[in-house]
Symmetry: C2
Subunit: 338 residues, 2 copies
């Protein structure tokens, strides 16, 4: 990365992958990627090589999150360097293959961008997930996507009582989750690329395809690919600020000594992803009707509230802290002939 | 059943079972039943023996719908009379055990009532499922439950803009699905009892426990058990009419020659369970943006719209026809000493 007059010059992003089915029961990405494998016209852009890819085909086949272990936690150095022995967990084997195909992870030859398409049962809208606050390229991309989708939000506000418009527009708010916390960060499938970006759209039950969620994900991808095409064409993106929600803490359900949950997400918190949770606000409701309050000192912004897949990960929701990140202007580095 | 002055005399209902976990990823029934196994005070009533029971414990353990085959389709005469050989499907074995414990199915010694607790990803509210239009006892019970929950609906209407009240009240409308159609009827777990009654509450994703769905199910069960206690005490229930939705037809997603779906439930139909679908109304939206209209001659009332578990059963939704059933007055038969 070079800097001149506060403009950061960045390498062009030519090789892009779109992953669906990292979790085999998250249907929007699976259906979109399969559609694009059959007909790529919609994702083609000048100067881009775009590869749609089903990352966990056996889990997709069984419509289950994973076969042996969570693929989206499997891209650790230990796994990626594990010898190819018989009896390796399916997802560990798959992680090694994916790293070879799209990486190797951390190498100069790795793909420029991987979009990994996920669904959540939580009311998270169209969340963009970043792994680094210093990845200018991704911050600018996210800013572009947020700006491009804003006219849809305006439309939804103009017709707040129109159920049909509201439905079609629903998950277009595009909050940005920054998972840079060393205690919460995990070794994602997309981490193989130089610029990893997760897309987490909900609410959608596992195994279900909802048209509004499908169309939202499709719209975000359209804007993201547009950004890459424009960037590669040499256009300069001015400095910007991006509101992000930094992963802060994992909150588990109250449990008994056997590990069984003894309370549910409180109805006042359920579906309120990204809304402020203040000290004294209701957090859980025990089966015998007792309310458990949030007792943290400062206001947090919960997300992944009551996500189906996280019961086994001892997480009822994740708290985040709101921050504004500033990003330099960026422009493609022009190669100087030597 | 005897009839005198239009009052039907029916046997008392002393033995009652509450099944949770017939599908191992439908959490409300599982959590309620486990709670009542630990402490039955809430479900105890005078003159009743109430047994809370986890019907598919291995599926519950794995948080999956079933292990080998759908338990809620397994109570066929063939399965129940299958010899106990090694390699029998787990759910077939389990069906035989359950029929022995709570039946045998169709015998005079069978349990009087089985409530089977289910969740759905569809927006079905608190649906009561009946299997026969001539089961006066169940019709009267359903009428009692609907009447008892009406004050909650009134409350929700008084405060239509209060999000918190709306949330707490949400699935209290109690529509009744009558599955008496020989083409759609299946051999349910609850069919072991003399009076089988299904409770299907949603929307709730598989593997998720929502407090509003949990509390709705708990409320319905409370009213149902109250009805049994009152009936057994000898109180006469006057004649009534019950609005039911009779199962009519199974509608599949449009599919390609490989069986893959090529369209989604249309956004105008999604979440509109129990609302009228008229000829010419949008039904599906293809991935390339084409709307497929409903072309049936008469108005139907769709339900189980976009239920996760029914993709594999080739069902996008079920159509129903609205009917009003009339039920005689009922009273417990008083045994005359011989």
């Amino acid at each position: 990365m070079s800097s001149r007059c506060n403009i950061s010059g960045l390498q062009e992003a030519k090789r892009v992958a779109i992953f669906g089915g990292t979790h085999g029961n998250e249907m929007s990405g699976i259906m979109l990627v399969n559609m694009w494998i059959n007909n790529a016209a919609e994702i083609e852009r000048n100067g881009l090589v775009t590869k749609p890819f089903i990352s966990n085909p056996r889990a997709v086949e069984k419509c289950t999150r994973y076969i042996d272990t969570d693929l989206n936690r499997a891209f650790t150095p230990e796994n990626l360097s594990a010898p190819d022995v018989e009896g390796l967990q399916y997802e560990v084997q798959r992680a090694k293959e994916i790293s070879q195909m799209f990486g190797p992870k951390g190498s100069p030859g790795a793909y420029d961008v991987i979009f990994d398409l996920h669904n959540t049962t939580s009311n998270m809208g169209s969340t963009l997930i970043l792994e680094s606050s210093t990845d200018l390229f991704n911050l600018q991309m996210v800013n572009y996507i947020k700006t491009s989708t804003q006219h849809l939000n305006t439309l939804a506000k103009v017709f707040p009582c129109n159920k049909k418009i509201k439905k079609a527009m629903a998950p277009h708010t595009c909050p940005v989750l920054l998972n840079e916390n060393p205690h919460l960060k995990y070794s994602t499938t997309r981490s193989v690329a130089k610029h990893p970006i997760g897309l987490e759209v909900g609410p959608q039950p596992q195994g279900v395809l909802r048209s509004n969620v499908f169309e939202s994900m499709r719209t975000i991808l359209k804007h993201a690919l547009d950004f890459l095409e424009i960037f590669n064409s040499g256009v300069e993106f001015p400095p910007c600020t991006v509101e992000v929600f930094r992963a802060h803490e994992r909150m588990d359900y109250p449990r008994d000594t056997n590990g069984n949950i003894t309370a549910m997400v409180h109805p006042h918190l359920q579906d309120c992803d990204w809304e402020p949770l203040n000290r004294g606000d209701p957090m859980f409701l025990t089966f015998d009707g007792r309310t458990i309050l949030y007792e943290g000192a400062s206001t947090v912004y919960p997300t992944f509230i009551n996500e189906a897949a996280y019961y086994e990960k001892q997480q009822a929701f994740m708290t985040t802290c709101r921050e504004i990140l500033a990003a330099n202007a960026i422009r493609k580095t022009v190669k100087v002939k030597s």
